[in-house]
Symmetry: C2
Subunit: 319 residues, 2 copies
DNA sequence: TTGTATGCGTTATCAG
DNA sequence: CTGATAACGCATACAA
């Protein structure tokens, strides 16, 4: 494989000059520059980035941790990140974790191994102390509300948003409200749970643990929800569904089961995905692309910052 | 940042010994080994992988090119690849391309930059000669039928599978058969188009260009399909739908439009995704996880090989 | 504007 | 079983 030395020899200059041409340094004579470029062309030379990274200490590579790649939620987020990465000449490394802590640690370790400059967590499962361990090794950015200001993040206030949705349903007369969520344990899920509990306390409503449906991410996850609703002798009259995919599935199931929406069951989705528009589902628009953009910028900046993003209520036909 | 030299000093051995311990060489005395390990523990030392890669010439990193991360098809494939990667102590680098040639070239370039050892194309847009350019720089594996044996691949014979489906519909009495596909131009799409054309020639059927619906990947892409079907004064009586997502969307749309399936419109999906089972859609099971596994193995092996995978017909209620 | 020399952190070679 | 040293390919301080 041809290296910088070969190019230098071929172009009749020093390696320094070659390096300078390669990195667009200002003061180089046109002849030498041309000679170098010609040698590069001829030999089809390409820098060995391992050497460059070893020398410079950085890689222009940003890691992105996300649980699934097959969920539209993350697809949009990733899109926003990727668009911004292009503008700043950075490349993205995707780490798909399936919410497994071990995989998240692998991603973090790449920070320590100097293979990436920064790491963006779209979502995480591992405990906070594990993340903290890796602070010294590179910038870490999260998509959740951070208590201490130790790290950058861009987030939606899920407590506020959830509470807003609950209040809306309450005003519409609903007293038996349940919700569907992806998992019970994430920071964002915990915020929503807190909102839910505060809501029922506030209005002196009974707490039905079976009004909470978890593992709701995909279209087909709705089957389990509707089965439970059907079996219940005191089913909820309204559901907050944290994924439009699942909300759409619920709408489909309800058609089959002749449960009418919103009369028998009201629905509010989240994300404002195309499928929500298609199926006329009331939902919250969350500007994932914008979040992606901000989060990338935070990943390459030195300063630490917190950015709050607000979700916008989109009224359609399911409430 | 602590390096191998620091560890050597701390453990009272040479850097060579440290390196040997780190890489599990056989002949090392237990005391020295223990001393090194202790120093590593104490200092929280981690190899700089850029240096390792520079020296050894490889990275244990495999790139995976896929157009979208939000399509279940690729999700499954990726899963298969990832599972196998773990077994072999390799890490995966995902490149999301949105079918853009530029992005694919970026991934290829990482091969040349020595940042990855091999590159797996789950799907590609760029022309064959571009791929060929990068043969010298690392192993490339594809998920499509390769004419010359220049590169490894694992693939489904889409011509055969498509023809089988068409014949099946023909035997059921269908003469006006259309199909929905993601894009017109990919290798796999071209194979299916060839099957379709041969089929109508074989049976002396008229060719309706409007029986081919492209950009069909997601659930909501079905809207356009059904709108076109409705507007047509000579609509197809059966549709081959190369994504179960879209097939499911079609089923949903047809319920709204009171088009009955399979009487008014028969449907065969592809992939055998959970949603197809949920909605009782006749489809082809394609073992994506197995494809993923094979493709990974090919990526780390020296030999070039071609592996054919067969799709299995799953009869349900939409034909 | 250009070149020489040094070092980034590691593994491989070779001698012991 | 162990260690000194060269080399991987490159960017940069320094000198010219």
């Amino acid at each position: 494989m041809v290296n910088i030395k070969d190019i230098a020899k071929l172009a009749g200059v020093s390696v320094t000059t070659v390096s300078r041409v390669l990195n667009n340094y200002p003061y180089i004579s046109d002849e030498k520059k041309a000679a170098v470029l010609k040698a590069v062309q001829m030999t089809d030379y390409q820098q060995n980035m391992n050497a460059v990274s070893l020398r410079t200490g950085h890689t222009s590579l940003i890691g992105v941790v996300l649980p699934f790649s097959h969920h539209p939620y993350f697809g949009l987020l990733l899109n926003g990140i990727a668009n911004e990465a292009i503008k700043h000449n950075h490349k993205l490394l995707l780490f798909q974790t399936n919410y497994e802590v071990e995989k998240e640690i692998e991603a973090l370790r790449m920070l320590k191994e100097k293979r990436i400059d920064a790491l963006i967590f779209c979502s995480r499962t591992c405990d906070w102390p594990i993340i903290q361990e890796y602070f010294p090794y590179g910038k870490i950015v999260l998509c959740e509300k951070i208590r201490d200001g130790s790290v950058s993040s861009t987030f939606v206030d899920h407590y506020k948003t959830f509470m807003g949705a609950l209040d809306y349903l309450y005003d519409k007369g609903h007293r038996k409200i349940g919700y569907c969520i992806g998992r019970r344990s994430g920071t964002n899920s915990l915020d929503r749970e807190a909102a839910y509990k505060d809501f029922i306390t506030k209005h002196n409503l009974p707490f039905h643990s079976d009004y909470i449906y978890d593992h709701c991410l995909t279209f087909e996850d709705s089957i389990k929800v509707i089965n439970k609703v059907k079996e219940s002798n005191n089913p909820p009259s309204a559901l907050l569904v944290t994924s439009d995919q699942t909300a759409a599935g619920i709408v489909t199931c309800c058609q089959k089961e002749t449960i009418s929406i919103p009369e028998d069951l009201a629905l509010i989705g989240f994300d404002n995905q195309p499928i929500a528009k298609m199926m006329n589902i009331t939902t919250f628009d969350i500007p994932y692309k914008e979040i992606g953009k901000k989060v990338f910028l935070q990943a390459i900046k030195d300063e630490i910052s917190q950015e709050e993003i607000t979700a916008t209520f989109i009224e359609r036909n399911t409430v």
